[in-house]
């Protein structure tokens, strides 16, 4: 068949169009200072030891800024400041005042949404589309939601007198730095607690910028303190005798250590830990949409998601069809510059994490698994890992049982509903699960039988401040969001009639 010139022109135009030339979000909106101190008692100051850590842009490996590394003395000062603010100002502040300030913080965050989105992407490597459309809006939504509860706590906890706990130490991870800060701060502040927040060492910048907004919103000094640093700083906070509660989101290993450290002490604890979420697809599912759910479940935020759907369980009768669609879809994923608005998968958060992901996949190959990665090139500079699908899995391999925390999906098949549930529950974790079927009764049966804190049906990775989130088993305990999430920050005593 001969092609007409007009057809050639159109074909060339189509290729040029579909290449999507880079469309970069401007980074000038955010002014990153060369160094940042600790925020203690409303003042910024360096660590007493003078120690700093360098935070880098994982998309290039280049240094972004120096932040102070808090030691025990700094943590002590921060807890003192929080205690003073609690006893002198915040505990007795009128609930409507707390509500107003939390609301104001939400508004300020919205006002500067683009700045936060760019900073989050620069410091953490996630695609700008996600920080712009997910992280920042959800963070603001959490403050709005909890601003509403601040003066209505007696209605949230009927029959109970609700009082704040006191000083709360909050340790948050690097995968959603701003959003996790919001999930932690919003309920704590709305319930009348004061906070010492420890961001992750690779992603401290948005929490520090948020601390500036806390000040601008008019919170009394010392209500929110930020101590940056690595694991030792977190340990100093956990070990401090002046905290009334620890809230931790991070790995199961560290979570177990915290639980041990707090044993025998009168300190409340909530843990949101790892996961190995099962994503179950039945033969009657809307397959193209199930593929979208799988992609969002495991490649969203490079798979650095505790509730990621990292284990695909697909009904054997439809496995070939579904996996063919998934492979085709994976070819479309654009891995690259996180500031490009068309990037689907950004940079791996740190070199250490990149090494960990590589080891897991190499280990899977050594154990006889088959690995599929798309043809599309990934950048040679910076920390990148291609979207990966691992098949030929028995179930006992490390990659099938442990949390990879990267863009790596394992695939297994099942034959019946009972087998799907048995495989899904065959894990030490219990954070999330997803179901794809067009049959409603099946959704209800599975949701009752899956052991997971969150079960999504015909969708995945959906979050809302009004919906409690948290795990069971080795995924932790306690809930964040919703009325249930308030309990973690309140001392409840029955009201005598």
């Amino acid at each position: 068949m001969t092609t007409t010139p007009a057809r050639d022109v159109a074909a060339r135009l189509g290729e040029t169009f579909a290449d999507y030339v880079p469309s970069l979000e401007g980074r000038d909106i955010v002014a990153i200072r060369p160094s940042y101190g600790l925020m203690i008692g409303g003042r910024e100051r360096p660590a007493e030891s003078g120690a700093t850590i360098t935070t880098i842009d994982p998309s290039t490996g280049a240094a972004l800024s120096e932040v102070a590394e808090a030691g025990p003395a700094d943590v002590d000062a921060a807890v003192d400041a929080a205690r003073g603010a609690f006893e002198r100002r915040w505990r007795d502040a009128a609930p409507r005042e707390r509500s107003k300030l939390v609301f104001r913080l939400a508004r300020l965050l919205q006002d500067r949404a683009r700045e936060f989105a760019v900073l989050e992407t620069l410091d953490g490597g996630k695609p700008i589309r996600e920080s712009r459309d997910v992280d920042v809006p959800l963070a603001a939504a959490h403050f709005f939601y909890h601003a509403g509860w601040a003066d209505k706590l007696q209605y949230a906890m009927p029959g109970m007198r609700a009082r704040p706990l006191g000083v709360v130490g909050q340790i948050i991870p690097w995968n959603f730095p701003l959003m996790m800060a919001a999930w932690k701060l919003a309920p704590a502040l709305a319930c009348g607690n004061t906070v010492v927040l420890k961001p992750a060492e690779t992603t401290p910048l948005t929490a520090l910028l948020l601390a500036e907004l806390v000040d601008e919103a008019g919170f009394p000094p010392g209500v929110v303190n930020v101590v940056t640093g690595a694991g030792a700083t977190g340990s100093a906070l956990v070990d401090h005798r002046g905290v009334d509660k620890i809230a931790f989101t991070g790995s199961t290993g560290v979570g177990k250590g915290i639980l041990r450290a707090l044993a025998g002490r009168d300190v409340r604890l909530t843990l949101e830990l790892g996961g190995k979420g099962a994503h179950i697809v039945f033969d009657d599912a809307a397959l193209d949409q199930a593929v979208e759910g799988i992609v969002d479940g495991i490649f969203f935020n490079q798979g650095h998601v505790c509730c990621a759907g990292s284990r695909l369980l697909v009904q054997e009768s439809v496995a070939d069809d579904l996996l063919g669609r998934l492979r085709r879809r994976m070819e479309l994923l654009r891995v690259g510059d996180p500031l490009d608005k068309n990037t689907d998968v950004g940079a791996i958060n740190s070199h250490a994490q990149l090494v960990r992901i590589r080891e897991y996949v190499e280990g899977a190959v050594a154990e006889g698994c088959a690995v599929h990665q798309p043809q599309r090139e990934i950048p040679s500079q910076g920390f990148y890992y291609p979207p990966t699908m691992v098949t030929d899995i028995g179930g006992s391999e490390r990659i099938a049982r442990e949390e990879v925390f990267g863009p790596v999906l394992t695939v297994q098949t099942f034959r019946t509903e009972a087998e799907a549930v048995a495989r899904a529950n065959s894990t030490r974790y219990g954070l999330s699960a997803g179901i794809w079927t067009e049959k409603g009764s099946r959704i209800l049966w599975l949701a009752n039988n899956l052991r997971a804190g969150v079960v999504w049906a015909n969708t995945f990775n959906q979050f809302d401040p009004s919906s409690p989130f948290g795990g069971i088993r080795e995924s932790g305990f306690g809930r964040e969001g919703g009325r249930q999430g308030l309990e973690a920050y309140l001392e409840l005593t029955p009201v005598r009639p």
Partner: protein
């Protein structure tokens, strides 16, 4: 000609189908989310220029009014041939789409320019008349020189469960078209769900349509990103099952360049760039063309032109 066409679970069976055709379901929420993300692709510089020119090349410039006259059709054809009268570099559109009575005029005005004449036929837009009369209308338009025929499916039959009637009528229309291309309008705004859109797409393709098309443009809701994605996925699955590649036409409500580029992204990432040609993809539109030309002028000169600088019909 009568064909038994039955739906068995999510498969269609019919004498005319060599093998059962799997239809499958659609999840509305996930479909809308994917469509929104694709339509929101950030198209800049060279990609935008290419997308704009491609849009012009893929437009079916349309007038479908009771008040259409030869004069109106002449103005439409002049715009079709020279979308930007000041810049001969802007290519002609793919086709001009008119009512059957206007086909002879469009054929005369367009001559051997290569711009096709498309005609709606078959009791457009409702389709609510006797089949023989509808087929006669198709044959008449083809005899008058139409290269392409846009028909509507029998939505009443589809919604009342008579899939065989829908299939048979499309198949009969295809036969009546002869060498002309058959573009079958599903009128998605009347179908009520994406499952029905997908089913109607599969029936229309199985019955021989060369192109499936969203809408008549006569309803408040016409082409939308989720509908476009739903039909594109059906086309892809039909090709996977049968080996036959069917075209897609989006019509109604597409007025701006930004919308058009979003739809091109949906097609590019669902069907591949092989579909980004006038042979496989069309926009049915009238006001869209001038907006695209204004954008092309801006790309070329760096200045915004006034809408009044361009001819209207």
């Amino acid at each position: 000609m009568t064909t038994a066409l039955v739906r068995d679970g999510d498969r269609l069976h019919g004498d005319a189908l060599r093998a059962p055709l799997a239809v499958g379901g659609v999840d509305a929420v996930a479909l809308a989310s994917r469509a929104a993300r694709l339509a929101g692709r950030s198209i800049k510089r060279e990609s935008k220029s290419a997308g704009l020119e491609l849009t012009v090349r893929c437009i079916d410039l349309t007038t479908l009014e009771g008040a259409d006259t030869p004069g109106k059709v002449r103005a439409l054809c002049m715009r079709a041939l020279h979308p930007d009268p000041d810049d001969p570099g802007v290519p002609p559109v793919a086709a001009v789409c008119v009512y059957p009575s206007m086909v002879p005029y469009a054929v005369e005005y367009l001559g051997d320019s290569g711009v096709h004449v498309a005609s709606v036929a078959g009791a457009f837009p409702s389709g609510q008349s006797d089949l023989a009369a509808r087929l006669d209308e198709i044959r008449g338009a083809v005899a008058d020189g139409a290269h392409e025929i846009d028909i509507v499916i029998n939505r009443g039959a589809l919604l009342s469960g008579h899939l065989d009637v829908v299939f048979d009528e499309v198949a009969a229309a295809k036969e009546a078209c002869g060498d002309a291309h058959l573009k079958t309008i599903l009128e998605t705004g009347e179908l009520g769900s994406y499952d029905q859109v997908r089913l109607a797409s599969m029936i229309a393709m199985a019955a021989g349509s060369d192109v499936i098309k969203t809408s008549t443009g006569k309803l408040p809701v016409s082409a939308t990103p989720p509908v476009a994605l739903c039909m594109a996925e059906a086309i892809r699955d039909y090709e996977a099952q049968t080996g036959r590649a069917v075209g897609l036409k989006l019509a109604g409500g597409i007025r701006t360049s930004k919308q058009a580029l979003g739809y091109l992204a949906i097609v590019a990432e669902t069907l591949g760039t092989g579909w980004l040609t006038p042979g496989m993809f069309r926009f049915g539109a009238s006001t869209l063309l001038n907006d695209v030309v204004l954008q092309m002028r801006f790309r070329a000169t760096g200045r915004y032109a006034r809408p009044d600088d361009l001819p209207v019909d």
